[in-house]
């Protein structure tokens, strides 16, 4: 309620206008103070009328400048807070449902609980240290510790986003830090100890996510598009979020090994309906994820929003077509999986590409991820249970590369107005920068994840006992059941 005072003051400033009746009823507050301002001037009436009027104007203009900045902040901040909420919606309930529906009934709560745990644990970790490591000023690879416990993370704008409070930027980025590890959980579904999962994720956030985020988005980061040694363009986290999580997913799937009975036993999704709800919420939330990455509510946000939607739609069609041809029927699970794949692939490109290019990227990503999930996975026979790698690793990689192909300076002059950005604009070199970004993400993720897995495995152990796995994670890890069978 207290914002009143602040707003009233603003009212004053705006009100200081002689002739014109202030619009939308700020009048009330305005009139009186207007007097107060004008009064003093009246006294020294020896000064020329012109001079007075100029002086008055200067006062007003000065006041307006502040008022404009405030208005700008309100608009941008309104969108960024909305976006932050949307990105949280992606993890809970979005991803939790998408994954929860794909596992067997006995593991639904265990699956959803892993996403929810990220919402809680990564948040505290962010306040303690990971925000500082990711966005605090440090070297080219990782941030410093100056912002531990959110020290110095206030409400003034920052170079990261000059029109919104730094805390808005901080909490918005936090939502990314939450969903990224949550994505990995799809790979080791139905067989990992909850305690081990927690320890693994905490270490992963520190060792893998923070440095990667810093390199791509942090001040002075190695891959920072504006200042980095290898300017890799990644609008909303194709490398930081999807390649890292996808590749780490593959590693965990390989390290933990298959679920008991896989692939002999049937392990259908227990509720494609739940997954459907989750996928739709992911789609909607992704608008905050991509368009929000403009860190403002202007034309760039619009461009990213549009690319996101068209990319998702095209990929849903790409996957469904491939499936229709191969299996004779397009499935609902296929369509939603395709949409997610498209959202993944368009993530780095949104904010850089035109709607038609987004459609192209989507079509490619949809078909490509279908191929990865359906063919490649069965060739190698690893049990990436919910295809975290097949969708996010593969989709993120292809997306990051295609971004280098389609990026256009007209949409986002990241290298300066009119300077060729993507390969199609003649900046052939960019494909290498993109490849570099992807390579680093792959390297860091695989090495980091492997090391963490080893440590956790040797200390508290990664996998539940065979009996617990048969019983299901809901009962063995959480002492609950997802659905009460009787009454």
């Amino acid at each position: 309620m207290r914002s009143l005072l602040g707003k009233v003051l603003l009212g004053l400033l705006i009100g200081v206008v002689a002739g014109c009746p202030p619009m939308i009823g700020i009048k009330a507050q305005a009139q009186t103070p207007a007097m107060m301002f004008v009064a003093p001037d009246v006294e020294n009436s020896q000064r020329s009328a012109e001079a007075d009027r100029i002086a008055a104007l200067e006062k007003q203009v000065a006041a307006q400048t502040a008022a404009i900045a405030t208005a700008q902040t309100s608009g941008d901040n309104a969108w960024m807070l909305t976006s932050a909420a949307l990105v949280l919606l992606m993890t809970g309930p979005g991803l939790a449902l998408f994954y929860g529906g794909l596992v067997r009934k006995k593991n639904v709560l265990g699956m959803m609980m892993q996403s929810f745990a990220m919402m809680a644990v990564i948040t505290l970790l962010w306040a303690i240290v990971t925000y500082s490591l990711a966005f605090g000023s440090g070297n080219a690879f990782i941030g410093g510790l100056h912002n531990m416990f959110l020290h110095g993370v206030g409400l003034d704008p920052s170079p990261y986003a000059p029109t919104i409070p730094l805390q808005t930027f901080m909490v918005y980025q936090l939502m990314f830090a939450i969903i990224t590890p949550a994505l990995i959980t799809g790979a080791f579904a139905e067989r990992m100890k909850f305690s081990a999962m927690l320890v693994f994720m905490v270490l992963w956030a520190i060792v893998v996510y923070s440095p990667m985020a810093h390199m791509v988005w942090g001040v002075g980061g190695l891959l920072n598009s504006s200042t980095g040694r290898f300017p890799c363009i990644d609008f909303a986290g194709g490398t930081v979020v999807h390649v890292t999580s996808g590749v780490s997913a593959l590693i965990t799937a390989l390290y933990l090994g298959k679920r008991i009975g896989y692939p002999k036993e049937a392990m259908q999704p227990h509720s494609v309906v739940l997954s459907f709800i989750g996928a739709c919420l992911l789609w909607v939330g992704w608008f905050g994820f991509n368009a929000g990455s403009a860190l403002s509510a202007g034309t760039l946000a619009t461009s990213a929003f549009v690319a996101t939607h068209f990319g998702a739609a095209a990929a849903a069609i790409g996957w469904s077509m491939a499936e229709w041809i191969r299996n004779g029927k397009p499935s609902c699970l296929g369509a939603i999986s395709g949409a997610v794949a498209g959202l993944v692939a368009i993530t780095p490109a949104s904010g850089f590409v035109s709607p038609m290019a987004a459609i192209t990227i989507g079509l490619i990503a949809g078909a490509f991820c279908f191929f990865m999930v359906v063919k490649v996975k069965s060739w190698f026979g690893y049990d990436d249970s919910l295809d975290a790698f097949g969708v996010h690793g593969a989709g993120g990689t292809i997306g990051a590369l295609l971004t280098g192909l389609f990026a256009r300076s007209a949409i986002n002059p990241v290298f300066g107005k009119g300077v060729a950005t993507g390969v199609l604009e003649g900046n052939y070199h960019q494909i290498l920068n993109q490849a570099m970004g992807v390579a680093i993400a792959w390297g860091l993720s695989s090495v980091g994840t492997l090391a963490i897995l080893f440590v956790v495995d040797k200390t508290i152990g990664l996998r539940v006992s065979e009996a617990e796995e048969m019983e299901g994670l809901d009962l063995s890890q959480h002492g609950e059941e997802g659905y009460e069978w009787a009454h």
Binding site: A266, Q268, G334, S378, D387
Partner: protein, 112 residues
């Protein structure tokens, strides 16, 4: 007393039930079931993995009836449940030694 177990197509449940009530067979218990038999199943695909589902949804209707009306009941079920296509199901008949109404401890045919 005879126990008649009829495994039928779910879509035929209402018809069978009504037909039985018509001939005075009030009491019956219905169970959801899955059936395997001559009727061939279908294939499902999830993320490209193929599942050949040969367990098809069926409904099992159980009723215990006095010996004398057993055949009548069976005939009723047959006509009501038949579509003529594979998968219509089966009827099994077994002897029941005792029937008791929980509410009032009545035993025997009167309990049905």
């Amino acid at each position: 007393m005879q126990k008649i177990e009829a495994i039928i197509q779910p879509s035929k449940l209402d018809a069978v039930k009504d037909a039985l009530v018509e001939i005075g067979v009030q009491g019956m218990t219905i169970l959801e079931a899955r059936g395997h038999g001559r009727q061939k199943g279908h294939t499902e695909f999830y993320r490209g993995r193929e599942y050949s589902v040969d367990l098809l949804p069926k409904v099992k209707v159980e009723m215990v009836v006095a010996d004398e009306i057993a055949e009548k009941a069976i005939q009723t079920i047959l006509t009501a449940a038949r579509t003529g296509t594979i998968g219509d199901g089966k009827i099994f008949v077994t002897k029941v030694d005792e029937a008791i109404r929980i509410r009032n401890d009545e035993r025997g045919e009167i309990a049905l």
